[in-house]
């Protein structure tokens, strides 16, 4: 419709929803539209079209809770899901401060509702369009009629692209006037009285270019206001990595011991485990543990993340330990046997300590890799350092400062470890 009005051929470019704004500024496309929310900060940073659709932030709850949970304030201490980097997420953060709601951030708009029905979260706060579509797909919840907030969808363009924006606004106004936009909305089942009132309001206003408002949270105070949440997220990353590594080391040791000492059956089962884990993406494994197994065990997201990363890295650790155990020459082990040491004692006093020296440096390198891979768990709603940075970057519209801060925190974790690994390598190779 807009392209036709401009006399141009529309071309679809797919990017992640949270990257629409940044991609528009980069020039990946001229105009980004897909539920882009009209927010003052966005108006200040980019060229923004007039609001072409009015949406309501609505609460979805399980039928049995519809009387209990009518407003956000009713959900003290309860988990409320939404999409990260949205107006709804900001509303939840406010509600967290004011009434103790626990926000849970998702990367997609499907799983919040399936997790609501499954009992993993107690409510979902999202745009009514999304909620209604989800209800058609996943019955088993109700949408509260009273909206939590009202917002508008806009198209977003690069800041310098105001000329195109003005043309688009003109086209949108004329399509609102002549009823063709209403016709489209009706055909998509998203037309209601509030849209009619919204159109009237838009058409009665005189065109005014955006540009005012608070563009940057990239001020010093903006940075300091984000620091606590970044540091918290860094804590999540550190804790997640340490716990996952603990699982990886213990399971890895068991797997390696089984593959070196076990019978044929044990060896083949463990070999299959290692090959399956190493041969499939960790993202897939996280999805399977969190969503795939939810019918059997409904793990909390953090536990699922720790277990998923831990079991994944256990496969890699086990290969390190196995190689290290097998690197200890047989004659030493035979000498130990002729001296009367039992297999367990040989493992404990002869083979294990020497294998540990060989394994320590590659283990440390693996821990650094795990630290970075822990960013993958945001796909199962754990907000760790990278995810928090993405939220920060989306809200400020720039990756520069958040990116530098995030990288600095990762380096603070990983540099000492890398140094430690290098020192160990030098020390043992000299030995």
């Amino acid at each position: 419709m807009i392209a036709a009005g401009l006399g141009r051929r529309p071309q679809f470019v797919q990017v992640a929803w949270s990257s629409i704004e940044a991609s528009a500024e980069r020039g990946d496309f001229d105009i980004g539209m897909s539920g882009v929310e009209d927010r003052p900060a966005l108006r200040a940073r980019r060229a923004v079209t007039l609001p072409y659709f009015e949406f309501r932030e609505v609460l979805a709850v399980r039928p049995g809770d519809s009387a209990r949970y009518q407003r956000l304030a009713d959900l003290r201490g309860r988990k409320v899901a939404t999409l990260g980097s949205t107006m709804a997420y900001d509303l939840l953060l406010d509600a967290q401060r004011e009434s103790g709601v626990v926000p849970v951030s998702y990367d997609d708009d499907v799983h919040p509702y399936t997790d609501l029905v499954a009992g993993r979260v107690d409510a979902v706060l999202l745009d009514h369009v999304i909620a209604e579509r989800a209800l058609r797909r996943t019955p088993g919840f109700v949408i509260q009629s009273e909206p939590v907030a009202i917002g508008h969808y806009v198209g977003v363009l690069a800041k310098s692209n105001t000329a195109l924006r003005d043309s688009v606004d003109e086209i949108l106004r004329s399509r609102m006037r002549d009823g063709s936009l209403e016709k489209s909305f009706r055909s998509w089942n998203v037309w209601d009285d509030s849209q009619a009132r919204h159109f009237e309001r838009v058409l009665s206003e005189t065109p005014a270019a955006g540009g005012a408002g608070n563009a940057g949270e990239l001020t010093m105070s903006g940075i300091t206001s984000y620091l606590p949440s970044l540091l918290r997220a860094a804590g999540v990353t550190a804790l997640l990595s340490i716990l996952s590594m603990a699982i990886a080391v213990s399971v890895g040791l068991g797997v390696a011991a089984g593959r070196v000492y076990g019978g044929r059956m044990v060896r083949s089962v463990l070999a299959i485990y290692v090959e399956v884990i190493r041969g499939t993406p960790v993202l897939l494994q996280l999805f399977v543990i969190y969503y795939g197994l939810s019918g059997v065990v409904r793990l909390p997201a953090f536990a699922a993340a720790v277990i998923g990363l831990g079991l994944n890295y256990a496969a890699y650790e086990s290969e390190i330990y196995r190689a290290a155990l097998e690197a200890i020459n047989r004659a030493q082990l035979e000498a130990a046997r002729t001296l009367g040491l039992s297999e367990v004692q040989i493992f404990r006093f002869v083979r294990g300590p020497q294998a540990l020296r060989l394994a320590l440096a590659p283990m440390t390198n693996d821990f650094v890799a795990l630290l970075k891979d822990s960013s993958l768990v945001s796909v199962i709603t754990v907000v760790e350092l990278t995810k928090q940075t993405a939220i920060y970057a989306t809200n400020t519209g720039s990756w520069v400062v958040p990116g530098i801060l995030c990288a600095a925190i990762y380096l603070v974790f990983s540099l000492p470890l890398s140094r430690f690994a290098r020192r160990l390598e030098r020390k043992w190779s000299a030995a």
Binding site: N329, A331, Q332, E334, A335, A336, R337, T338, L339, G340, L341, S342, E343, Q345, F349, V350, P353, Q354, R357, A431
Partner: protein
């Protein structure tokens, strides 16, 4: 005097290959017996069978009143008597690389034989002293010369107090002076009443320092048991 080690009709096959056939052998206390033969003659195989590292298919091996029988190698828990009585020194000394000389020697006495650490250390120092390497007690295997490492390995094998000492190619890495010193060491060990079975392809050494030479070819004993002691 009854033999420390008696091997009777020892047979070993790997798949279709006959490695040892009809090996009969006795070593008495205080005797140094040389097992001589080319590489692959089966010398090391006999030592490994006596040390219960490899199984054999027929015959028997008696160490004092402990008997090894054909079939799979018994579990370590059933080999405790054998382990106390038989010490073995491997060709490449095979010291534990992460432990110093003293700890290499005390490891088994302390953990396998329940001797208190202080007494085990004392004994180990005495052994190192008798072998002339007391000053190397704190050195790690990588810091030892070939001759020193071998002496530490001998001390380690002697620490549990075995009645038989098996040695696989002990002269392989030694210069002539060291070989002579080793020979004297073996004589001293035999004088203390131990039985020594030495596998070697070094005929000169075997003639010079063993009481009896048994020549092995393709898994059979060709000559012997001519004993110098009986000359």
């Amino acid at each position: 005097m009854s033999a420390s080690l008696t091997i009777t009709g020892l047979e070993m096959r790997r798949g279709s290959r006959q490695i040892l056939s009809g090996v009969n052998l006795e070593v008495s206390p205080g005797e140094i017996c040389g097992l001589f033969g080319a590489s692959g003659a089966g010398k090391s195989t006999i030592l490994r069978a006596v040390a219960a590292l490899d199984p054999f298919s027929a015959g028997s091996i008696d160490v004092g009143d402990f008997s090894l029988v054909p079939g799979p190698v018994p579990r370590e828990s059933q080999l405790r008597q054998l382990r106390k009585r038989v010490g073995m020194v491997f060709q490449a000394h095979s010291l534990f690389e992460h432990l110093n000389a003293l700890d290499n020697i005390t490891l088994a006495p302390v953990h396998a034989h329940g001797i208190p650490q202080s007494r085990a250390s004392e004994d180990a120092r005495a052994l190192l002293d008798s072998l002339g390497v007391a000053h190397r007690a704190d050195a790690y295997p990588r810091e030892l010369s070939g001759g020193e490492a071998q002496r530490v390995a001998i001390a380690r094998a002697l620490a549990p107090g075995p009645m038989i000492l098996l040695m696989d190619e002990p002269t392989a890495a030694l210069d002539p002076a060291r070989r002579e010193a080793l020979g004297e060491t073996l004589r001293a060990l035999a004088r203390e009443g131990r039985a020594l079975l030495i596998a070697t392809h070094d005929m000169e050494f075997a003639r010079g320092y063993t009481d009896r030479q048994i020549i092995l070819a393709e898994g059979r004993i060709e000559s012997g048991p001519a004993s110098r002691a009986e000359d």
